[in-house]
């Protein structure tokens, strides 16, 4: 019990520390690729701290749902962060919820975020909520197929079991089913974290925004919580992709040496994935909203092919 709480505390600190850093690094990388100087890597921490110090205006039209939403978003993201293996195969709370719980907890956060978007009654919030729920709904089957492909290899939806199996066959990602599943999940990752070509995290242009439109009415500490939650969600999804397909360096126990090594490997893998995402973002234009389903259909087909190839090869 004590050990469990200690592990959970340790991983929580890690999640809370790394998440804004990752967002910052990705922003800087993107700026460099576009030959801009870009913000400082630590800018995301400063943004959150700044927002926390600000006052906030709550719309007169909003109800208690508006105030509950930031907490739900933050708490669900943080909990999911404790369920996935980051540096060790053995995630602190993996006994209490596997990959299905991860997907559905994130959905709980999204559910409330969409309610929060509609609560103020502004049309932009509704626009964002509608789009967010639509895109996530279409992304869901592809995501589940890819997850099933990986889960079938481990015959478990428990993330630690999946990671253990993955570690025992480190080079399995060369199998066609794994590659296809990776492609499917990568597309879903882009859609779920709201990056180009699906959504643009840097825009406040009303016609193109999805996530930003939902949180338009939020300010101050509530906005900080939502932004923090969103960066944790991004970290979690990226970790999920990285550690299920490329489990190199995952420590099998919670010793200091294993964890340090695991952390180094983890950060390198995450940097590489971040690089890939930023490259995709820089080299693509944002898709029209009604072209996004086609992209996600591609992802679904990748998922289905991955599944078929698990028993063909």
């Amino acid at each position: 019990m004590i050990g469990l709480i200690a592990k959970a505390g340790l991983q929580l600190v890690l999640v809370l520390l790394v998440a804004p850093l990752l967002s910052g690094i990705m922003k800087t990388m993107k700026a460099r690729l576009q030959t801009r100087r870009g913000p400082n890597v630590l800018q995301s921490y400063q943004d959150i701290l700044k927002l926390l110090r600000k006052g906030m205006v709550i719309p007169e039209t909003a109800s208690w749902i508006f105030s509950v939403t930031p907490y739900v978003v933050f708490v669900t993201a943080a909990l999911v962060g404790l369920m996935i293996p980051m540096t060790a195969t053995d995630a602190p709370l993996s006994l209490f919820g596997g990959v299905l719980a991860v997907v559905y907890l994130l959905a709980l956060g999204r559910f409330f975020l969409a309610l929060g978007g509609l609560d103020a009654g502004s049309s932009f919030g509704g626009l964002g909520s509608s789009r967010e729920m639509t895109i996530s709904a279409i992304a869901e089957p592809a995501m589940m197929l890819a997850i099933f492909t990986v889960a079938l290899a481990a015959s478990s939806t428990n993330l630690s079991e999946m990671a253990k199996v993955a570690v025992s066959q480190s080079w399995k990602f060369l199998a066609p089913s794994q590659m296809l599943a990776f492609a499917a999940l990568f597309i879903v990752l882009i859609a779920e974290t709201g990056r180009i070509p699906v959504d643009n995290p840097a825009t406040h242009l009303e016609l193109t925004m999805i996530h930003e439109a939902m949180i338009l009415e939020y300010s101050g500490p509530y906005l900080a919580l939502i932004e923090y939650g969103a960066s944790i969600k991004q970290l979690v999804l990226m970790t999920l992709v990285v550690n299920t397909f490329f489990p190199f360096g995952l420590s099998s126990d919670w010793t200091l040496r294993g964890l340090t090594l695991g952390l180094v490997f983890y950060l390198i893998k995450m940097l590489l994935l971040a690089c890939l995402i930023v490259m995709v973002e820089t080299t693509n234009a944002k898709l029209r909203l009604f072209r996004v389903p086609e992209l996600l259909m591609v992802s679904f087909i990748f998922g289905a092919l991955a599944l078929i190839s698990t028993f063909l090869f």
Binding site: L95, G98, Y104, A114, G126, M133, A137, L152
Partner: protein, 681 residues
């Protein structure tokens, strides 16, 4: 082991429902008294029915009793086994909550409508459901089934002044009789093979069924029970009939009357027909997937709150059938353990859906009661005048979207786990169906979440869109208590899932052989497992506790730093546009616009915009917008069927000469034929 008074409490509950029916009919001249008698006896009947179910489940062994009737094949025989106990428990929970709710709800009927007749039908519905779930004789079952359909018809058409209601009632009664006809034929087949109308005889005679007989019986029963359960494509009566009934009845119709179809399938497919071949299970699975996805897609396009909920019933029946179909496939593949898990998933979802759908309909009933509108485009902002209703509806919405840590998540999780296991146990290409069904379940879940964001937000959040919703008031106390009971049930079944799952042990043992309840629970009852050695694990209770614990850092973050500037209320920013009014708000139609465009192949949307202008086309005076989707099944499947039937009927008119001599001749010929076939040794 001492025996618990199952039969006694059951009889008491049946007696209370019967007495309630007659007394409410007798006291119709005194509305207030009648209302209290009606709800009181129903509540008492539900309590005793619930006690009987709890006793039956605790007892663990089936209780059987039979009273001979003197008519061949027919006997008043009852079989209170684990399956009957489970469905009676579901019925009792719903009947109790609805009875409490009705104390205040029926008040608006006083002086306007005949509460006595309403009470009569209400009790008759509960009585017939109780007998349907317990009858062990095919004829008794069919009689109760028919009474159930008629009582439901009377309640659906309770607001009979409305043309729409009468049409819905007609559609309902026609479909109900097609399903009763299918069941009659199916039972006739079984009776012919077994030589008895007793369910126990069907069980023993099932081995003598030839494979073609088995297939025919399966199709007949699947049609019969499928129509009752509202699976696509036999669903068209459901979204028409459920919304027009009084709201407390809508909640029972969606909550439990549909489940009579599920009960029948579980009873007949798992017991009465022997081991069904795998194509039957796959058919159930595929129909389930279709119902789930199409049900939620149609729900998304609705802006009538009660019709939206009715379409969600189709979706959830689909999810239940996914579990049931998987159980049938696993059983014939020789994996009773897996079949048991899949069956638990299906039946647990049956109970869960009964509870949250009943809750949501009662919530919609409170909204309708308070504002007089079912149209979401006229509602909005109800969370302020109706905080309790809004909270209960929100819990129901989270539960039905399958989100943790509530009960809908648990049963969907079990369904996913059994689908995942299905990949390993079946051969060939059919195995691909299981993960595909899983991905479609994921789509269904996400679309349901989208739909309930819409339903909750448009109805309860932001600004009111009409004078009625501005002057809304909270539901009276008994209605709040009724909803509160079901809200509590959602929480208890969600957080306490591991304590509830062993209830299914006797059930799976009876229907499939193994007891898996203990396999599904690990680590001191906190964690639910998939039943396989390294399978998935989940614990809704730990998730809930962890979520609460993680609130501490979140609250610390917000409260530590943001103190220097107070939080204050101000006008919504809205990108700097001043004067936010209800006209700027997103509507239900607008919310689902994106999905309507993406799935336009299915919906075939049509829209019409008319602009009225005075002088210049640049200054419109009024704009009329109309948007509708094509009712595909009605237009493509049922309209041709109806035409065919009418053409056939016109032809048949030739023999209806209207002459008494001709009719006497028909009767004579029929009699001779019947004697010829009946007397034939």
């Amino acid at each position: 082991m001492n025996t618990l008074p199952v039969a006694a409490t059951f009889t008491l509950s049946v007696a209370l429902y019967s007495v309630g029916a007659l007394v409410s009919l007798a006291s119709w001249r005194k509305p207030a008294l009648c209302r209290h008698i009606c709800c009181g006896t129903a509540l008492a009947g539900a309590i005793f029915g619930g006690l009987a179910a709890v006793f039956g489940i605790l007892q663990g062994t089936a209780v059987r009793w039979s009273i001979s009737s003197g008519i061949p094949l027919f006997a008043y025989s009852f079989d209170y086994d684990a399956l009957a106990g489970f469905f009676n428990l579901t019925l009792a929970i719903l009947a109790g909550a609805v009875s409490i709710y009705s104390f205040s709800y029926l008040k608006e009927f006083e002086g306007k409508r005949n509460i006595g007749f309403f009470g009569f039908l209400f009790h008759l519905l509960l009585l017939s459901l109780t007998i349907v779930f317990t009858a062990a004789n095919a004829l008794l079952f069919l009689i109760a089934w028919e009474v159930m359909a008629l009582a439901a018809y009377g309640l659906v058409t309770f607001y009979h002044e409305d043309r729409e209601t009468r049409r819905a009632g007609l559609l309902y009664i026609v479909m109900a009789h097609i399903d009763a006809g299918c069941l009659l034929l199916g039972f006739a087949l079984l009776m012919q093979v077994s030589g008895s109308a007793d369910f126990a005889q069907f069980r023993t005679a099932a081995v003598h069924l030839s494979s073609s007989q088995q297939a025919i019986a399966f199709v007949l029963f699947f049609l019969g029970f499928g129509i009752k359960a509202g699976v696509i494509p036999f669903h068209i009566w459901l979204p028409a009939a459920h919304p027009v009934a009084p709201s407390n009845i809508s909640s029972l119709l969606s909550g439990i009357v549909l489940k009579a179809g599920i009960y029948g399938m579980a009873r007949i497919f798992l017991e009465g027909l022997g081991v069904l071949p795998s194509w039957a299970g796959l058919l159930v699975l595929i129909v389930g997937v279709g119902s789930a996805v199409l049900g939620v897609l149609y729900a998304l396009m609705e802006h009538d709150l009660k019709r939206l909920l009715a379409y969600h019933s189709i979706e959830n029946i689909g999810i239940i059938l996914i579990g049931l179909g998987a159980a049938l496939v696993f059983r014939v593949a020789g994996h009773p353990q897996l079949a048991a898990v899949a069956l638990i998933a299906a039946l647990f979802h049956t109970l869960n859906h009964a509870i949250f759908k009943c809750l949501l309909f009662l919530g919609a009933g409170s909204v309708l009661h308070s504002t007089g509108s079912r149209n979401m485009e006229e509602l909005g902002g109800l969370i302020r005048p109706m905080p309790v209703t809004a909270f209960c509806f929100l819990i129901g919405a989270v539960a039905i979207s399958g989100l943790p840590p509530l009960n809908g998540f648990v049963s969907e999780w079990l369904t996913y786990q059994s689908l995942l296991a299905g990949f390993g146990v079946t051969g060939g290409l059919t195995r691909i169906l299981f993960p595909l069904a899983g991905s479609m379940l994921a789509l269904t879940g996400a679309l349901a979440a989208a739909c309930f964001v819409k339903a909750f937000a448009i109805t309860f959040l932001a600004l009111p869109r009409s004078a009625e919703s501005r002057s809304a008031h909270e539901a009276p106390r008994s209605m709040r208590i009724g909803m509160g009971c079901l809200t509590g049930a959602c929480l208890v079944l969600g957080l306490g899932a591991t304590w509830f799952v062993p209830v299914f042990d006797a059930l799976t043992e009876q229907l499939l052989g193994p007891r898996v309840g203990t396999n599904l629970i690990t680590a001191h009852r906190w964690v639910l497992s998939a039943g396989t050695p390294h399978g998935g694990l989940v614990s809704t209770s730990v998730i809930a506790i962890a979520l609460l614990l993680l609130l501490i850092p979140a609250v610390l973050l917000v409260s530590s730093a943001g103190r220097r500037f107070a939080r204050r209320r101000g006008p919504a920013w809205d990108c700097g546009l001043p004067g936010l009014s209800e006209h700027n708000e997103y509507t239900a139609t607008g919310f689902s616009k994106a999905l309507r465009m993406i799935f336009s192949v299915l919906y075939q949307p049509r829209r019409e915009i008319q602009t009225v202008f005075d002088v210049s086309p640049y200054f419109p005076k009024a704009i009329r917008f109309e948007s509708e989707i094509e009712p595909t099944f009605e237009k493509r499947l049922y309209a041709p069927l109806k035409d065919l039937l009418l053409r056939f009927a016109t032809r048949m008119r030739a023999i209806q000469a209207g002459s008494i001599h001709a009719y006497l001749a028909y009767i004579f010929v029929t009699l001779v034929l019947l004697l010829l076939f009946g007397v034939r040794p």
